[in-house]
Every structure is written in structure tokens, then in C-alpha cells.
């Protein structure tokens, strides 16, 4: 079939698709139209019921906590999958981490990058930790804090070398931290079951002031564990890829 014929067939099909698409778009409700009752109900009762002012986190870790458990284990499985796929195969060998041609002219990282990365590492760690541990007060949460914590390690790599990153986050320690995070989340839910409550029910004392750090029971605890797990998973994935790029070579030992 010649290209011109194919183009005509495509144009006919695209015209039909465009007609149906525009007809569908014209039947949409207006911008900002929210008819559903769930949002209004949550707005009214969430702060009173959980003593947490970060309502999105209460939905994530309390009202719909079961979905979050699934999402956590998606990330856990992704990190485990990366570690499995990028393991050392039979036809590869891992170079020693000693620089073999130390006298060659390596283009060094520019000092501007190194200084800025070094300056920002501390504040980024503080911000990530604050976000992960304050899920009940602000727009924050375990996932956001964890990812920002992982970014701090990338800044360490930028301001130094790969070996410095490896010394800060050895694979064994990172894997243990990730397992503690994922297992801790599941364990909180299971301990609620052990006390006779539904899975992941908020059973810790709720605190007195809505939005204080020690309020909202298990939400703050779950967010802390989630932050640990997410940070460790991202550090593992990036560390594995860096190792693949910098250390693993083809050719048998």
C-alpha cells in the first residue's frame, strides 16, 4: 500500500476520532465542579477524628492505608528487581575500586558544582527528615520526605566521588533500612490486628492538639517508616545503576 493511501486512511480515522473526542469533551462538567460527597465529609471530620491537620496524609495512612501498603511494596519490589537484574552475571567482572590509571588527566568536577552540592546536603537532609516526620501537620508525607532524603545522597555523589557515596551508604545497611521501613509499616497494621482492631486502624493515643508533632497516633509513625523505606529504595536503585556504570565490566575474571 502506497504511503499516500495510508495517509488518507489515517486522516479518515483521525477525523472520526476527533469528532467523538470533541463530542465527549462537550459533555464534561465545568471546571472545578466537584459533586462527590466524600471530599466534603473528609473535610469535616478528618481533623476532629484523627487530630491531624494534614488531611491528605490521614487519607494516605489512615482512611485508605491499605492502598499505601500496596504502593510501598511496589517500590520495594522495584528496588529488589533492580538489584536482581543488575547483579553480577557470569560474563562480567567487577573492577576493583582502585583507580588504575591515576596519572591520566581526568576532568575534575567543577568546583562550583562541588561547593553548591556540599552546601545543600545538610539543608536537604533536614528538609527531607522534617517532611517525613511531619506528615500530620503539613503538605508532606513519608514518600516526599524519603525521596528528598535520597536526593541528599545524590548531592554527596556530586560533591565527591562514587567511593564517598559507597562509604556513606553501603549496600548491606541500605537494604536493612529498606526492609525495616517496609516491614515496620506492615507490622503496625498487623499489631492493630493483634489487638483485635481492623488492619491498620489508628490505635496509638491521638494526642491533644490537632497538628502537633506527637498527635495523630499511627499516622506519624507510619509516615516515618515510609520515609525510611522510600529513601533506602531510591538510594539502592541509584547506587546499583552507578555501580553498573562505573565498576562492572565485560569479560570474565
Amino acid at each position: 500500500m502506497r504511503p499516500a493511501q495510508r495517509r488518507w486512511i489515517f486522516l479518515v480515522g483521525a477525523a472520526g476520532l476527533a469528532a467523538f473526542y470533541l463530542w465527549g469533551l462537550s459533555g464534561l462538567p465545568g471546571f472545578g465542579n466537584y459533586p462527590g460527597p466524600y471530599g466534603f465529609i473528609i473535610n469535616r471530620i478528618a481533623v476532629g477524628q484523627t487530630n491531624a491537620t494534614g488531611v491528605v496524609s490521614t487519607i494516605n495512612f489512615d482512611y485508605r492505608g491499605f492502598d499505601t501498603v500496596g504502593e510501598e511494596f511496589i517500590l520495594f519490589a522495584a528496588a529488589a528487581g533492580v538489584a536482581t537484574v543488575l547483579r553480577r552475571l557470569r560474563g562480567e567482572r567487577e573492577q576493583s575500586t582502585v583507580d588504575e590509571a591515576a596519572d591520566r588527566d581526568v576532568p575534575t568536577t567543577s568546583s562550583a558544582i562541588r561547593m553548591v552540592a556540599l552546601l545543600f546536603t545538610g539543608p536537604v537532609v533536614v528538609m527531607g527528615w522534617w517532611l517525613a516526620s511531619h506528615a500530620q501537620t503539613n503538605p508532606s508525607g513519608g514518600f516526599q520526605g524519603g525521596v528528598i532524603l535520597a536526593t541528599a545522597f545524590v548531592l554527596i555523589y556530586l560533591s565527591g566521588e562514587f567511593l564517598v557515596l559507597k562509604r556513606f551508604s553501603p549496600v548491606a545497611l541500605t537494604e536493612v533500612v529498606e526492609a525495616v521501613g517496609a516491614g515496620g509499616f506492615a507490622a503496625i497494621g498487623v499489631s492493630a490486628v493483634a489487638m483485635g482492631l481492623p488492619y491498620l486502624k489508628d490505635f496509638l493515643p491521638l494526642g491533644t492538639v490537632p497538628g502537633a508533632v506527637s498527635s495523630s497516633g499511627t499516622i506519624a509513625l507510619i509516615s516515618f517508616f515510609v520515609g525510611l523505606e522510600v529513601a533506602a529504595a531510591f538510594i539502592l536503585i541509584i547506587g546499583e545503576l552507578l555501580e553498573q556504570t562505573l565498576l562492572i565490566r565485560q569479560g570474565g575474571r
Binding site: 471546571f31 472545578g32 476532629g48 503538605p139 516526599q144 525521596v147 545503576l241 553498573q244
Partner: protein, 94 residues
């Protein structure tokens, strides 16, 4: 135990303001730019800028949690993974 706390923010939003329209147009332009760039490393950097644009889009539509996630994942973590994969492929071609 359930208190009826009426939150004060009940302003209905029924029209897009100028910031939202601008950022939507920028996101469309950014997506087109990411697709049309052909060089690999430049495409990854365009993807990083597109991640920042998406984060601003989520912020303009009143979703700060998603903004924080998208900012880190879309602008930092995803380009790092892509750049490392590209570096590994380039080493393999040598």
C-alpha cells in the same frame, strides 16, 4: 468523637485563572519539546525541566503533596536513572 469541624476554606473555584492557563500551555510546549529533541542527553535534560514544569502545574492546581513528589522524582531521580543507563550503553558501544 466525631466533631463537625467546618473548615473555613469554602471558596468554589469554577474558572481557571491566568496562572493555571499559562502553566498548562507551558506543560504542553514542554511535552512537545521533549518528544521533538533527538539527541539523547539533551532529551533527558528536557525531561528534567518538564518535571519541574509539571510540579508547578500541580502546585497551581492546589495539590502540594503531589508537587513535592513530582519535583524530586521527575526532575532528579528519573533523569539520573536515564543518564546512568545512557552512560552504560555508551560504554558498551566502545
Amino acid at each position: 468523637m466525631i466533631e463537625a469541624v467546618v473548615t473555613p476554606y469554602t471558596v468554589p473555584v469554577d474558572m481557571m485563572d491566568a496562572l493555571q492557563i499559562t502553566i498548562l500551555v507551558l506543560v504542553a510546549a514542554g511535552a512537545t519539546a521533549v518528544v521533538l529533541i533527538r539527541e539523547r542527553v539533551r532529551q533527558v535534560l528536557a525531561l528534567s525541566v518538564y518535571g519541574v514544569l509539571l510540579a508547578v502545574l500541580f502546585l497551581a492546581f492546589q495539590a502540594p503533596d503531589v508537587t513535592l513528589s513530582e519535583l524530586t522524582v521527575g526532575a532528579v531521580a528519573l533523569p539520573i536513572v536515564l543518564l546512568l543507563a545512557l552512560a552504560k550503553m555508551r560504554k558498551r558501544e566502545e
